[in-house]
Symmetry: C2
Subunit: 477 residues, 2 copies
C-alpha cells in the first residue's frame, strides 16, 4: 500500500457548528408504578445498574436505581419469581446473575439479553404491566431499598482499563503548557488515531473512596535536573467518561471489531476521575507513558448507565479535521451523546464544620459531545490489531475538556490554572470573605464530578450520579 | 525535602564482576518415588504449576509437573483423600482449589500455605513418606498424566499485567538505534526508577498460540512524515521473564510494599514473549507509550515455577550505578536468579515438511542475572504510590538483553539486526546451502523461548519450559 501524507486542519472553534443537537420528535415519557418528579434524574427511562449492600445485609448484590430507591433484583427474583415469568431470563437465572458482587456475569450475557431485559424491567415497572397486583405490591415494596440505606460498591471488575486522550482541547492545551508555547499545534499523529495507554485496573475505586496522596520521584521544578522523592506536589483531577464493554460474543483474539458494529460492544458509561500526580507523571513518562503518576486510584461513579438511556441525547460527533484511514472513518456519520459534565473542588471544611458544609467551586462545565474521537472509534482502534475484548473492560475518554472559548471548559486543574501560573479563586464560605486559591489539590481537598443529560421539553433527566473523592495526607514511610 | 542531583555512572562491561555466582555448599538432591534422570528439567525440586486438560476430560484443572507427567491434584484429592491428611490444606480444599481452570484461587491463599503445601507435596512424593503404599500406588499412577496426553492452558488469569524495561543493555541499545547515535547514554531518569507501562492482560496467551500479524498505522519509513495503514512490517519478539504476584494479605490500596518484603509477594516466574510491532509502536507511542503495537498477543510459558525452586540459583543483582532513593535501595544486597534464557527463530518449514522439521536459529543466549532492576524493586516501585496488588498480577522484566560484549546477548530482533541494518543469517536446513536472512519476522516464522537453571555439580536442572508462537498472515479486513 502506498504511503500518504495527510495535512491536518488545526484546531479552531468554528467546528462546533456541526455538533448542535437536532430533535425532530418530542420525547415520549414512560409511566412508572413508582411515583417521582417528572425531572427526577433516575426515572424509568434511566434505570442505571449498580451493586450495593445494606447494614442489614452486607453481601453486595446487583440492583437498578429507580427514583430514590434501588430495586434489589436478587431479592425480588427470590421473593417474587412470577414477576420474571415473561422475561428473557428465568427467575433462577436472574437470581444467580444478580446475587453476585459485580455485574460482570450479567455483562457477559448476549447483548440481545441486555436489550430485552431492560425493556422487560421497564414494562414490569409500568402501570400497564399488572405484574404487581395488590397482593404482590408488598413484595415490590420490600425489594425497593431506599437509597439512603444503601452502600454503593464498584459495580464492575475490569480486567483491563484503557485510558484514551480523545479531547482535542485537552491534548492541545496540555501540549502548549508542557512546551510553554501558546500556539503549538497538535502532532499530525493525534488526528490519525485515538492515542491511549493501558491503565491500572486494580486501583479502580468507587466514588467516595478517599486515598492518600502518593509518594514518588519528581523534578524539584519543571525542567530541573534535580529530583526529589516525597509526596506529590501537583495533584490533579481529570474529568472523564468511561465506557464499559459487554456481550457474550465479543471478538476473539485476531478479529477486529468493525467501526459500524463497535457501539454494540458497549453496555454503558460511568463518570470517572483519573486522579493524576502531575510531577510524578512528568518525570516517569518518557518514553513508556504514564505509570505510577496515575496508578494509585482512579474513581468511578457507582452507576452504570446503559447507552440506550442516552439515545434521546445522541448528537453528531465533532467533524473530523482530516479523513482517517477507513477503519476509523465515520464518513461524517459519527455520533456521541450530549452529556453535561461538571467538576467542582472543595477545600477541607473547618474542623467545626461537617462534610455536608463543604463549599464547592465549579472548575468544569462542559459536554461529552466535544470529545473528538468517538467511543466506536476507540473500540475499532483498540481491536484493529486483533486485540480481544472481555466483558467489563473499560475504555475512558481521557480528560473531557471543551472548546477554549467556552467558560469552565477545562476538565483538569493543570489546564484551569495554566500549569500553576493562574491560581483559581475558590468560592468563599457563606458570610466569609476568604480569598483562598488553588493550583493543585491540597490534603483534605475533595473533587466532585457530576454528569447528566436533560431535555427541557419533556423534562427527561438522565442522571449519571456523582464521582467524588478526597485526598488524605501522604502516609509516613 | 531538598532536591538532589545524582550523577549516573555510565554503562560499561566491568560491572559484571559483581554478578558471578558463589555456592559454598553443594546442593543436596531430593529423592522421588517417580523415577527420572538426575538432570531432568522437572525433578521434585522444580514442581512447577500449570493448568491442563485431556481429550478424555476436557475440563481444565490444576497440576504440578513432575518428570514426564502432570500430577492431577483435582483427581488425586478426590481419589486419595488420605494423601492430604497431614497437609496444610484439607483434601476438600485441595479439590476445590485445584478443580478450577486457573491457579488464581490458589495464588490468593496465604503465602505460608504456598510454602507449606510445596514442602508437603515434596514430602508426599518422597520415598520416605509412605503416603502411597502398595495399595494406593495405583491411585497415584492414575493421577499422573503423561505429558504427551495433556493440553496445557494459561495457568493464571492476570487482572493487571505490567511490563518493565529493566535491562540496561536493552534500553541503551534501543535508545541508540532509535536516535541513530552509537554512544548515546541512557537518561539519568532510567537509573532513578524502573520504568514501566501497563500492558494488556486480555491478550496474554499460552505458549503455542499462533496469532495473526497485526494491522495498524505506521510511517512508510522511519522518520518519514508519510504514514500508511496495513500489516506491520517490523514484527519482533522480546524475550522476557514474568513474575507472578500471590498472597492473601497483599497490601491494600494506600500501603506500599517495602523493598525487603517485596519478594514475599512473588509466587514465581514464567517465560514471556512480548511480541512487538515495531513500526506501529514507534508511530503511536509518543507521548503515552506502547499501546496497539503490543496489545495483540503476549505469550507466556505454561509453567509457573515457584521462586523457591530457583533458590539454589540466587545470585547478587548487578551493582547499582548510582544510589537510588531509599525505597529502592538494596544497599548492595540485591539479588536475582541465574536463569539461562534463550530465543530461537525459525522460518516456516517447506510445505513438504512438518512443524517438527523446523530449523531453529539461535538469536539470544543470556541470563536473567544481567537485568539491572530486581523483581523486588519492581514491586516496591509499583506500589510506592499506594497502588494495590492482586493475586495473579504479572510483572514482566522487559527485554532481557545481556552485556554488549557477550555473543547472542540481544533479546529482540531489533537489537540483533541493528534496526534492520545487519540482517541475521538463518541456519540452513540440513544438507541445504540456503542463505536466508532475517531482520524482522515473516509470516510463518516461529519464535521459541527457553529458560532453565543448571548446577553442574549436583546436576540439578530447573526447567522453565518453553514459550513458542508462530505468526500467521494478517487477516483480510
Amino acid at each position: 500500500m502506498a504511503g500518504r501524507h495527510i495535512p491536518c486542519k488545526r484546531p479552531n472553534s468554528a467546528d462546533r457548528s456541526s455538533i448542535t443537537m437536532t430533535r425532530s420528535n418530542p420525547i415520549e415519557r414512560l409511566e412508572c408504578v413508582i411515583p417521582y418528579a417528572v425531572d427526577h434524574p433516575f426515572p424509568l427511562e434511566n434505570l442505571p445498574w449498580t451493586v450495593f449492600s445494606t447494614s442489614a445485609d452486607e453481601k453486595p448484590r446487583c440492583a437498578v436505581r429507580i427514583a430514590d430507591s434501588l430495586l434489589d433484583l436478587a431479592l425480588l427474583s427470590a421473593q417474587a419469581p412470577h414477576a420474571f415469568a415473561s422475561g428473557p431470563l428465568s427467575d433462577q437465572r436472574v437470581h444467580e446473575l444478580f446475587s453476585q458482587s459485580t455485574l460482570n456475569a450479567y455483562l457477559a450475557q448476549p447483548r440481545q439479553v441486555h436489550r430485552d431485559f431492560r425493556a422487560f424491567l421497564q414494562h414490569m415497572l409500568s402501570p400497564g404491566s399488572q405484574v404487581f397486583d395488590s397482593n404482590s405490591q408488598a413484595v415490590l415494596q420490600a425489594a425497593l431499598i431506599p437509597i439512603e440505606q444503601a452502600k454503593l460498591h464498584l459495580p464492575i471488575r475490569s480486567g483491563d482499563y484503557t485510558d484514551f486522550c480523545a479531547s482535542k482541547y485537552h491534548c492541545t492545551a496540555t501540549g502548549r503548557l508542557m512546551f510553554n508555547d501558546p500556539t503549538r499545534p497538535l502532532e499530525d499523529q493525534w488526528f490519525q488515531l485515538p492515542i491511549a495507554y493501558h491503565g491500572r485496573s486494580s486501583s479502580l475505586v468507587v466514588s467516595g473512596t478517599n486515598f492518600h496522596r502518593p509518594n514518588g520521584i519528581f523534578r524539584t521544578k519543571p525542567g530541573s535536573s534535580d529530583v526529589q522523592f516525597g509526596p506529590s506536589k501537583r495533584m490533579d483531577f481529570e474529568l472523564e467518561v468511561a465506557f464499559v464493554i459487554a456481550g457474550s460474543e465479543l471478538s476473539p483474539l485476531g478479529r477486529p471489531v468493525k467501526l459500524d458494529q463497535a457501539e454494540d460492544a458497549i453496555f454503558g458509561l460511568m463518570l470517572m476521575n483519573d486522579w493524576s500526580a502531575r510531577d510524578i507523571q512528568a518525570y516517569e513518562m518518557n518514553p513508556l507513558g504514564p505509570f505510577t503518576g496515575k496508578n494509585f486510584a482512579t474513581s468511578l461513579s457507582p452507576y452504570l448507565v446503559e447507552l440506550a438511556a442516552l439515545e434521546p441525547f445522541r448528537t453528531p460527533s465533532p467533524t473530523a479535521e482530516h479523513t482517517p484511514f477507513a477503519y476509523l472513518d465515520h464518513k461524517g456519520n459519527g455520533s456521541t451523546w450530549d452529556v453535561r459534565l461538571q467538576a467542582f473542588i472543595s477545600p477541607s471544611p473547618p474542623a467545626t464544620s461537617t462534610e455536608q458544609e463543604r463549599v464547592w467551586t465549579k472548575i468544569t462545565d462542559t459536554s461529552l459531545k466535544h470529545v473528538y474521537w468517538t467511543a466506536s472509534q476507540m473500540v475499532a482502534h483498540h481491536t484493529i490489531t486483533g486485540c480481544n475484548l472481555k466483558p467489563a473492560d473499560t475504555f475512558a475518554t481521557g480528560t473531557c475538556s471543551g472548546p477554549f472559548d467556552e467558560p469552565h471548559s477545562e476538565a483538569s486543574l493543570i489546564e484551569a490554572c495554566k500549569a500553576g501560573r493562574q491560581p483559581i479563586p475558590l468560592d468563599p464560605p457563606k458570610g466569609s470573605t476568604s480569598t483562598e486559591t488553588r493550583c493543585f489539590l491540597l490534603d483534605g481537598d475533595a473533587v466532585k464530578i457530576l454528569g447528566h443529560a436533560f431535555d427541557p421539553a419533556s423534562k427527561l433527566h438522565i442522571g449519571l450520579g456523582e464521582c467524588t473523592g478526597q485526598i488524605l495526607p501522604a502516609i509516613e514511610l
